[in-house]
């Protein structure tokens, strides 16, 4: 399990990174945290001509929590988000989710943006991106563009990103302070990829729900936002029965895949149960 030969190219600036990606014309991969890419290399399931290392680019590091958005640079590690208590206070769903990504050594190295670019349908960050309507900034030699999460994921481990593009940052608009959010997932063991994960955001006014968002991971080739279930919640009074109904709607809306860890029937059931549970936690957290 030794990686195949590749050329290692350390980028010295974002512009340089895009030039390198252009130079290899689609046959280079961006190396950030490497926690998904390097196993693929070690298994020889990926064989790029070059790796463009962006870890040295200070301008892509760090995160910034604003009043109504969270800005995360391309080499910001999961652990940095996990250890910021203000993020947990401002948007608990993010803290719920990030704590469930792999293990500490993985979170120390793996990056938020790398996880999004890898686009594993069971992963937390792609789901959070969908839940919060994140915006990605992608750069190529030709220029920069912004891609909305809803238009980004186009299949299993597949996105609309061109291989010559690099995501430089992601911005997560944050739900209002008075909202409640939660991320709940079910995995075989601690730290495993979830069989199913559900993220929920609820806003209430005058004891009824004014806005609700539900995203489910692990049930399709991309994370799925379930509008039909959100509609059930709009204008209704929060409560167990309502959340259970939303769960039932989710179960009718998803068409999960089967694998050795759980078949479609089971995943659909999980989606239903976890939706109800996530909504309950989110509602509880709503002011």
């Amino acid at each position: 399990m030794k990686a195949p030969r590749f050329e290692y190219r350390a980028a010295t600036s974002v512009a340089h990174a895009t030039e390198l990606l252009a130079e290899y014309d689609g046959d280079a991969k961006v190396l950030a945290g490497g926690q998904s890419l390097v196993p693929l290399l070690n298994f020889r399931l990926s064989n790029p001509a070059a790796l463009v290392d962006i870890n040295g680019l200070g301008e892509l590091g760090g995160h910034r929590l604003g009043a109504d958005e969270l800005h995360v640079g391309a080499v910001c590690r999961h652990r940095e988000i996990e250890r910021d208590p203000q993020i947990a206070a401002r948007c608990p769903a993010i803290a719920d989710a990030v704590a469930q990504i792999g293990h500490v050594a993985i979170r120390n190295r793996g990056t938020v943006v790398g996880s999004i670019a890898h686009a594993d349908p069971a992963a937390e960050w792609p789901g959070l991106a969908m839940l919060l309507d994140a915006q990605f900034t992608a750069r190529a030699v030709q220029g920069e563009r912004t891609i909305a999460a809803g238009a980004f994921f186009d299949g299993f481990l597949s996105t609309v990103l061109d291989p010559t593009e690099v995501i430089t940052a992601v911005t997560f608009p944050l739900p209002p302070v008075a909202s409640g959010s939660a991320w709940i997932e079910f995995a075989r063991r601690h730290g495993d990829f979830a069989l199913v994960g559900v993220g929920a955001v609820i806003e209430c006014a005058d004891e009824s729900i004014t806005s609700a968002r539900i995203v489910v991971t692990g049930v399709s080739d991309t994370p799925v936002r379930v509008a039909a279930a959100e509609r059930v919640l709009h204008g209704a009074q929060p409560g167990e029965a309502l959340f259970a109904e939303a769960g039932r709607v989710v179960a009718t809306q998803v068409d999960p895949i089967s694998d050795i860890h759980g078949d479609a029937t089971y995943r659909r059931r999980l989606a239903q149960v976890l939706t109800r549970r996530a909504l309950a936690v989110a509602a509880d957290r709503a002011a």
Binding site: V38, P39, R79, R109
Partner: protein, 173 residues
């Protein structure tokens, strides 16, 4: 590619292929065979090293990426200050039968070092969660948990703060 990095407190220069993992570099080029390869896909944790003080899988990092960084392996832990020159975490693993075959031990010792550096009095739940990225097939982990508790005591004693009663330490958090 020729790279220089700091390994266990010493500056080293070494020629590596681009594709050489940090683990292979440390093992084969620098003779630090306490870095063990148990899976080479980032799950087992046997190859854990500290990179600038943070635990990482050295099988998922290329040696070239460590250029200019500080790497600590289990060989670099014994600082002469503790019992028999050992780091308190090493002492505690020995005292509590926290190892059997020893293959996972370097990774677990380093993960414990990072944990206790961040939190001198972790709760039992925290310990269980923190160690879950380091697979051990021999011990059933029970005596490893005991070793982590013992190490925390030793380190608190060593840092001068008298070991607080277990309950008190948690209450302050």
């Amino acid at each position: 590619m020729r790279i220089s990095m700091e390994v266990n407190g010493r500056g080293v220069e070494v020629d590596v292929e681009d594709r050489t993992s940090l683990a292979d570099c440390l093992r084969d080029r620098l003779g630090l065979t306490g870095v063990h390869l148990g899976c080479e896909h980032g799950v087992c944790g046997a190859c854990t090293v500290l990179l600038d003080g943070s635990s990482v899988r050295s099988c998922l990092l290329f040696a070239v990426q460590a250029a200019g960084h500080r790497v600590t392996t289990v060989e670099g832990l014994a600082d002469g200050a503790g019992q028999g020159g050992l780091h308190p975490v090493q002492t505690a693993f020995m005292a509590c039968h926290g190892l059997q075959c020893g293959f996972c031990t370097p990774g677990l010792v380093l993960t414990t070092c990072e944990l206790l550096a961040e939190d001198p009095a972790p709760t039992a739940e925290e310990v269980r969660a923190r160690l879950s990225g380091n697979l051990c097939r021999c011990t059933g982990y029970v005596k490893i948990f005991e070793a982590v508790d013992r190490a925390a005591e030793l380190m608190r004693a060593r840092s001068g703060t008298a070991a607080a009663p277990a309950g008190a330490a948690e209450d302050t958090r």
